[in-house]
Amino acid sequence: MASNEDDFTARLMDDMDPVLLDFVKTKVNSFIKWDLVRFFHENPNTADTVENIAKYAGRNVTAVEPELDELVHDEIMEKRLLGDTPIYQLVTDEAMRDLVDKFISACEDRHFRVKAVYHIIRGMR
């Protein structure tokens, strides 16, 4: 019975744009990444060190750095070296920026947010 309920919940929570579902499940799959993506969406021309980005996000550097690197791996952010200093910024690729716009716009809907939170928590298990 519990398994049927789980299945029902999962189906209900999967009821979103498949592109965004994949984005939440595989790319913005943590709350820190969600915060970072929202920050860079609101401030799209930000380019800075992990220490400063952590300050902007109001979080700890050790928590932010691996998440930023995963966003780089998933081609949402880009990382370049300025001298010896790694600098992070949102990718300039228009398709990815459009996808980020779509995700942030979708987050304005409470139902979408509930579903996204569900998938993030599920992915963290």
Binding site: N45, A47, L82, T85, I87
Partner: protein
């Protein structure tokens, strides 16, 4: 001489028509005096009225805040960014310095892509985060300003003054490096706070020497008449001039 209008007609008159092109111009003032507003107006006017795209480099205030504040004056910065005429770049002094000194850096790329002619740096005070040594700081600021000039930008640089009323006690070596130096001050007159503007310096050009009142209206900066019958304006607590002095010298 080629002038760059600031978008504030009263200030342009004080400057003899505007800033000189490809110069660095410092605007110093306490919190709330309108340094950032003047910077945004300078950029907006350049884009909309002079066909001169612009760049805002911010070291502390989030770009989101600029979009919001600009909208209050009817300036749609988001739309200007979409059109490729503006970029509000958030970074740190250390990164921007390294970036602009490198070939093909992010700032250079933005300037080239947009054909930017104007830049606002808000604020230069943050360069003090890089070094405590005043000699090194002056050298860093000098190098940064020269890089902006190399890119053929006319720059409006803001600087924070920690003093709300009266004259700043900060050492201001940057005042020697820049081409013009504008001071914004709060002044207490008859139990009310008013705002005063003075052009302290302008290299290569004459400029108004009087202290003007200004206000920030729904249209932005509005420079008004000079303070009449008052002395010691920059002290923050001006005194009324003696009636006989006003009669003899001011009213004539």
């Amino acid at each position: 001489m080629d002038r760059v209008n600031t978008g504030v007609s009263g200030l342009d008159k004080m400057l003899g028509g505007g800033f000189l092109r490809e110069t660095a111009n410092l605007v110093e003032g306490a919190p709330g005096t309108g340094k950032t507003t003047l910077g945004m107006q300078f950029i907006h006017h350049g884009i909309v009225h002079q066909n001169e795209p612009g760049l805002i480099i911010t070291f502390e205030e989030f770009p989101k805040q600029y979009y919001h504040d600009a909208a209050a004056f009817g300036w749609d910065f988001k739309e200007l960014e979409k059109k490729g005429l503006l970029k509000v770049v958030m970074t740190s002094p250390e990164v921007s310095r390294l970036d602009i000194e490198s070939v093909g850096g992010m700032i250079e790329r933005h300037i080239d892509e947009m054909g930017a002619r104007r830049v606002v740096v808000d604020s230069m005070s943050h360069f003090a985060r890089i070094t405590q040594d005043p000699v090194e700081l002056r050298s860093l600021e000098f190098q940064f300003i020269n890089a902006l000039k190399r890119e053929k930008l006319t720059a409006l640089l803001t600087r924070e003054s920690p003093v709300l009323l009266g004259e700043s006690v900060q050492e201001a070596s940057i005042g020697f490096i820049v081409d013009s130096y504008i001071v914004l001050r709060y002044v207490e007159i008859e139990s009310a706070i008013r705002k005063a503007l003075l052009v302290l310096k302008m290299r290569g050009s004459d400029h108004a020497k009087d202290i003007r009142q200004y206000d920030i209206t729904t249209n932005g900066f509005d420079v008004q008449s000079k303070f009449e019958g008052q002395e010691g304006i920059l002290s923050g607590n001006p005194r009324k001039m003696a009636a006989s002095f006003v009669e003899a010298f001011v009213k004539k």
